[in-house]
C-alpha cells in the first residue's frame, strides 16, 4: 500500500465519520411536519415538557406487526391531581397517531400498555396531559427489522 492510498483511506474515514456525527447530533425537535401537526392537534399551543413520562418499548424489534409498548406517568392519581390522557404518536407510519387513552382519578396508576405496529425504524413519542393543563412527553427510537402495515396482502 502506498502513502497516497493511506491518505485517501484516512480522508474517506474521516469524511464518513464526520457524516455519522452530523446525523447523531441532529436536533431532537427535527420531527417531520406530519408528526408535529398531530401533536399540535392534541396539545394546541401548550408547551410540551420532557419528563414524567416513561415509554417502555424495545429498542430493536424483529417484527413491526406487534410491538409491545407500556407508558407510565409519574403522577399522583387523586381527584385534584391526575393524568387526564396519554397520547401515542409515531414518525413514519402512514398516520402519525397510534392511540389516545383517557384516564380518570380512579385509575389508581397512570399506566397503559398496548401492542402497536411500526412501519419502519422510527421515533415513538408519548405525551401525557395532566389535570393542571401541563403536557409531558418521552420519545424512544425503535429499530424495526421487518416493517408492518404496508406489506402486500395475499
Amino acid at each position: 500500500m502506498t502513502n497516497s492510498d493511506h491518505a485517501t483511506r484516512r480522508t474517506f474515514l474521516s469524511l464518513t465519520g464526520g457524516a455519522a456525527v452530523l446525523v447523531i447530533v441532529r436536533p431532537a425537535d427535527a420531527t417531520p411536519a406530519m408528526l408535529q401537526a398531530a401533536i399540535r392537534n392534541v396539545v394546541g399551543e401548550a408547551n410540551v415538557l420532557i419528563g414524567k413520562v416513561k415509554l417502555d418499548i424495545p429498542p430493536l424489534v424483529e417484527n413491526g406487526n406487534t410491538v409491545p409498548m407500556t407508558v407510565s406517568v409519574t403522577s399522583p392519581m387523586t381527584a385534584d391531581e391526575y393524568v387526564k390522557s396519554i397520547h401515542i404518536f409515531n414518525e413514519k407510519n402512514p398516520q402519525p397517531n397510534i392511540g389516545n387513552f383517557y384516564l380518570t382519578p380512579r385509575a389508581g396508576r397512570a399506566q397503559v400498555s398496548a401492542r402497536i405496529r411500526l412501519a419502519d425504524s422510527q421515533k415513538v413519542t408519548a405525551i401525557a396531559r395532566l389535570s393542571d393543563g401541563t403536557f409531558w412527553s418521552a420519545t424512544a427510537d425503535v429499530v424495526v427489522t421487518l416493517a408492518a402495515c404496508t406489506e402486500e396482502a395475499i
Binding site: 407510519n93 397517531n97 392511540g99 396508576r109 397503559v112 401492542r115 402497536i116 396482502a153
Partner: protein, 106 residues
C-alpha cells in the same frame, strides 16, 4: 369461541389498585395494504374501546391503524366496591362487541 379475553381479579381488597387486561380478536386491517392485483384492502379496525365500572366510565381509548391486530390493552383501576366491569369495542363496518367481568371487594 369468545372473541374477547378479559383478565380481572375475582377478588380484591378495598382501595387496592388492580390491573385489567383485555384482548379483542380482530384483524385490524390498516387500509394501507394492497392485494397482488393492486387493489387497496379496505380499512377494518376497532376505533374505540371503553371500560365502565357499575355504569361509570373509567377508561377509554381511541385506536388507530397503528394498533396491532387483536388489540391487547391493559390499564389500572382502584377498586372501592364490588361490582361489574363492562367493556365495549366499536369499530368499522358496524363492529360492536361487549364483555363483562365481576369483582368482589372485601
Amino acid at each position: 369461541m369468545p372473541s374477547a379475553l378479559i383478565n380481572v381479579p375475582a377478588k380484591a381488597r378495598r382501595g387496592s389498585v388492580i390491573e385489567i387486561k383485555t384482548l379483542m380478536s380482530h384483524i385490524m386491517e390498516t387500509g394501507y395494504r394492497h392485494t397482488a392485483s393492486g387493489d387497496v384492502v379496505p380499512r377494518d379496525i376497532i376505533t374505540s374501546f371503553t371500560c365502565r365500572f357499575n355504569g361509570t366510565e373509567i377508561f377509554r381509548a381511541d385506536l388507530y391503524p397503528a394498533i396491532a391486530a387483536n388489540p391487547f390493552i391493559t390499564f389500572f383501576t382502584t377498586v372501592t366496591e364490588s361490582g361489574k366491569f363492562e367493556f365495549e369495542w366499536i369499530g368499522d363496518k358496524g363492529f360492536s362487541e361487549t364483555a363483562q367481568a365481576s369483582i368482589t371487594v372485601e
